[in-house]
């Protein structure tokens, strides 16, 4: 059943309460350890230093603790939302209607040559 009481709403006190709970939960339930933090960072292609891992772990776990309350909702038989307003995906005609803008497209790139993006060597 949907909860009828609002939780964690008030601005300052609720925030601090959550913070404490999140920290206590730190290692239990759906939370991430240091190894997972490093793995997520790599998947997201963001370099993290050793000093950053600890604080990131705490912050991510605080967020995960906050979203944990969603587990209390009965979602059986509920369709996941795919569009906020009922609409049919618009399709355009299958014709060329734009193009010839290579110079515009590469204009902001850090490194280019002859309208190509340049990247470090990928294949040896």
């Amino acid at each position: 059943m949907p909860a009828r009481e609002a939780r964690c709403y008030s601005p300052a006190d609720a925030g601090r309460g959550l913070s404490r709970r999140a920290m206590e939960r730190g290692t239990g339930g759906m939370s991430v350890d240091e190894k997972t933090v490093r793995r997520i960072a790599h998947l997201a292609r963001i370099a993290v230093t050793d000093e950053e891992v600890g604080p990131l772990q705490g912050e991510l776990n605080a967020i995960l603790a906050f979203v944990e309350q969603l587990g209390a909702v009965d979602v059986s038989g509920v369709e996941p939302m795919t569009s906020v307003t009922p609409m049919r995906m618009k399709k355009r005609e299958d014709i060329v209607n734009d193009g010839g803008r290579a110079r515009d497209i590469v204009a902001n790139a850090p490194d280019t040559e002859d309208n190509y993006f340049l990247v470090p060597k990928v294949v040896e």
């Binding site: 008030s10 997972t36 509920v78």
Partner: protein, 493 residues
């Protein structure tokens, strides 16, 4: 006579039409006000030359009797909208130096209608924040201060530069965007009016994406009428955004004076939360009284899934952000930091280019979308979104025309006051606004009074899909009853 930059947008439009002053004069007044307001850091880049050139064109049009709907009206543009030939940063180091070769649809329509561009406005990095403190280019300082204090306050976020510039008379109105409250919360904190229209009302084309299923553009201005005028120009179908809705744009300005007689306004009991400051409760009750006195019926309603909107948002929005922000890879635009191979180049670029909050959200998004967690987090959050929307649908089906709530859980706070280790503390700012994005509905924030510290507080009205007109009518009723907010004296100039 009121300084030209202190007129409302509607007054300025009428004054230009009556040739009481020129477009050049009103542009110049704003250019000078911006020059004096560096302390607020509201503008990331001012474009005075462009403003004066556009104003000269406007004066010609007016002289020929060919004035367009927004002819000669100076506006600020949130730096999330791509502007052709003018640097666009999204408040991020990763886009430093990016100069779009195209113009966003929304700003294109404003220029089409004769508006004048003053510059680009500060924001939280990639619109991720509620205080403007995540901008890589420094905080925007609110023009508001607590009574008897000189402590710097936040203008709210993410459209903090837009709200501060409007409140400090550095533009007649501004564009903004709202993913979880980023128009309505800063408007409430600065004594200005902001509307997030229905999802699909404005084209997202050319707006730097944060969470595409939630992002929507809208105006911030000093009056309800000014917001209605601006939205009329910003809205409309655009085939380049597949979620842009192909339906006529109503005459929003005409709706402003409709009144609320015969409307039924819902008061959702789930928004009456424990620990809510008494002042906010009082203001909310007062708002309901004002609407009742103007002929509306007030009815308590239930939106039972309200408490789950904010946690569900912190799955859906980061998930979409992690995908949208994958494009910042050091190859196509902006910053590049070299590495030993291409993967290291990506990782170093993104580590140096993104700020802390953006990294956090990308990582949460990456985690909830990763193998084994997708169903438990993302699919569940999208199901809860269906339930949140259903709550609103049931309320509207029962005869409710609009819903009245507080806009924010508190007035503006100080810079650095919410910089604790727990990011959730900041997220709670959006607790009353985020439901609206999750359901794709329109919502407006309108100033309703000041708290004991002399800081503005706002009320929010939530409408049926594509019924912004009722929101303008009801917000005008509140504006009439509350009286226009007296904006702060220019201590910064």
């Amino acid at each position: 006579m009121t300084a030209l930059n202190e007129l409302t947008l509607a007054e300025a439009r009428d004054g230009l039409k009556a040739k009481r002053f020129s477009a050049r004069e009103i542009a110049q007044a704003h250019v000078e006000a911006i020059e004096r307001a560096g302390a607020l850091n509201a503008y990331l880049a001012a474009t005075p030359d462009r403003a004066l050139k556009m104003a000269a064109v406007s004066d010609e049009k007016i002289a020929k009797g060919e004035a367009r709907p927004l002819e000669g009206l100076p506006l600020g543009i949130k730096d999330l909208f791509c502007t052709q030939g003018v640097a666009t940063t999204a408040g991020s180091k990763i886009l430093e130096g990016f100069e779009p070769h195209y113009e966003s649809n929304v700003s294109t329509q404003l220029w089409r209608d004769g508006a004048v561009m003053l510059g680009k406005l500060n924001l939280d990095e990639f619109a991720m924040g509620s205080s403007n403190e995540t901008s890589a280019y420094g905080n925007t300082i609110s023009p508001w201060r607590r009574r008897g204090s000189e402590a710097a306050l936040v203008p709210g976020g993410s459209s903090g530069g837009s709200a501060a510039a409007v409140a400090a008379h550095l533009c007649l109105g501004a564009t903004a965007t709202d993913t979880g409250g980023s128009i309505r919360q800063p408007a409430a904190l600065t004594g200005t009016v902001g509307i997030k229209p229905t999802y699909g009302r404005c084209s997202r084309w050319g707006i730097i994406a944060y969470a595409s299923s939630l992002d929507q553009a809208g105006p911030i201005a000093r009056t309800v009428q000014d917001c209605a005028i601006l939205l009329g120009s910003m809205a409309g179908h655009d085939p380049r955004d597949t979620t842009s809705v192909d339906r006529p744009v109503p005459d929003f300005e005409a709706a402003v004076s409709r009144g609320v007689k015969g409307l039924t306004i819902g008061i959702p009991r789930e928004y009456r939360v424990e620990g809510m400051p008494a002042e906010i409760q009082r203001l909310w009750d007062q708002g309901a009284e004002w609407l009742k006195a103007a002929g509306a019926t007030i009815r308590e309603i239930s939106l039972p899934h309200t408490p789950y909107a904010l946690p569900a948002y912190y799955i859906v929005a980061p998930a979409e952000a992690s995908s949208n922000l994958a494009r910042y890879d050091g190859v196509r635009y902006g910053l590049r930091v070299p590495g030993k191979d291409i993967a290291a180049m990506y990782e170093n670029t993104r580590a140096a280019g993104f700020g802390r909050e953006v990294k956090r959200r990308i990582m949460i998004g990456t985690y909830v979308l990763s193998a084994g967690y997708y169903d438990a987090y993302y699919v569940r959050a999208q199901k809860i979104r269906t339930l949140i929307k259903r709550d609103f649908e049931e309320a509207y089906a029962s005869g409710i025309d609009a819903i009245l709530t507080p806009a924010t859980p508190s007035s503006a706070f100080g810079i650095g006051e919410k910089a604790s280790a727990d990011p959730v503390e900041m997220y709670l700012n959006d607790v009353f606004t985020v439901t609206v994005n999750m359901a794709g509905l329109p919502g407006i924030s309108v100033p309703a009074g000041l708290d004991a510290q002399g800081l503005p507080l706002g009320l929010q009205l939530i409408g049926r899909p594509f019924d912004e007109e009722t929101l303008f009518a009801a917000a005008q009723t509140i504006e009439n009853a509350a009286g226009r907010t007296t904006l702060p004296q220019a201590w910064w100039a």
